[in-house]
């Protein structure tokens, strides 16, 4: 799972300097975001979503030097993705693009909030990141999670509950002043 240790600002600076590991991490950090904008926000088909996904990261790679504020990588990638999705819909002419754009507004706001949650998730211990990601984002059953993590399936629900509480405390107190030390 991803580490929260590297800020977007640092990540962009390292990518600009040609650091391959940083590029790897940047793609990992924003891949779900771009994917969700394509398939959840604009309801692109999988083949169209794949083309847009690759196009967005190619443009990000090529045009990173044009980004004026390194900390603004997230809204910039969101904008690149939105534009690419709209272009793709226009080229297809199968859908009324304006209607899709209208309905996408709420979805995009939710996707943006979801990325906030993922960033907070990266601050949790690896075990909590794994269990929450597997259950909620990957839709795995208690049994599958238990088998994969070597835990009795009966303990998964209580672990999920504890990890959600930890995540909630991080979301509500990003600086950690009131965060429980253990749990």
């Amino acid at each position: 799972m991803e580490t929260a240790a590297v800020t977007d600002l640092e990540l962009v600076a390292r990518c600009r300097a040609g650091d391959a590991a940083a590029w790897h991490l940047l793609v990992e950090r924003f891949s779900r975001f771009v994917y969700a904008i394509c398939v959840r926000g604009f309801r692109l088909s999988e083949p169209d979503a794949e083309d847009v996904f690759q196009e967005v990261f190619a443009k990000t790679f090529e045009q990173l030097h044009r980004l004026r504020d390194d900390g603004a990588i997230r809204p910039w990638i969101a904008q690149l993705t939105r534009r690419a999705c709209i272009d793709r819909l226009r080229a297809g002419r199968e859908t009324a693009v304006a209607d899709v754009e209208d309905t996408a507004v709420d979805e995009l706001a939710e996707i943006d909030r979801a990325l906030d949650v993922r960033q907070a998730l990266a601050e949790l211990p690896e075990s909590c990141q794994q269990i929450l990601d597997r259950f909620f984002a990957r839709d795995e059953s208690y049994r599958t999670i238990g088998d994969e993590l070597g835990l009795p399936a009966g303990t998964i629900a209580s672990r999920i509950s504890r990890c959600l509480e930890k995540l909630k405390s991080i979301m509500e107190d990003p600086d950690g002043a009131d965060r429980p030390v253990d749990g």
Binding site: W23, R32, V34, A36, Q54, F57, R118, R138, L164
Partner: protein
């Protein structure tokens, strides 16, 4: 700011992972660009080399350690045409 547990749980489900192959292809972009730069440089020096590369792009990519995926082939074709 206050959050409900149910809302957090829902938001976690909003961002499923992108397909692994898509992510890996995007992560390999720097190597792909560097490899294709190398092929383009070779092609620019000699028309015969360019013709040979274009005729068998799959082998040319494989020779420099790049997997000849559809994306890689399309990008190499585009750059060699330019």
């Amino acid at each position: 700011m206050s959050y409900e547990i149910e809302e957090i749980a829902h938001l976690l489900s909003v961002l499923p992972p992108a397909p692994t192959g898509w992510v890996e292809a995007a992560q390999k972009l720097p190597q792909l660009r560097a490899g294709i730069d190398e092929l383009v440089a070779r092609a620019e020096q000699d028309a015969e080399v360019r013709a040979r590369l274009v005729a068998d792009l799959e082998s040319a990519l494989a020779e420099i350690g790049l997997e000849p995926t559809p994306n890689a082939l399309a990008e190499a074709r585009r750059r060699l045409k330019a």
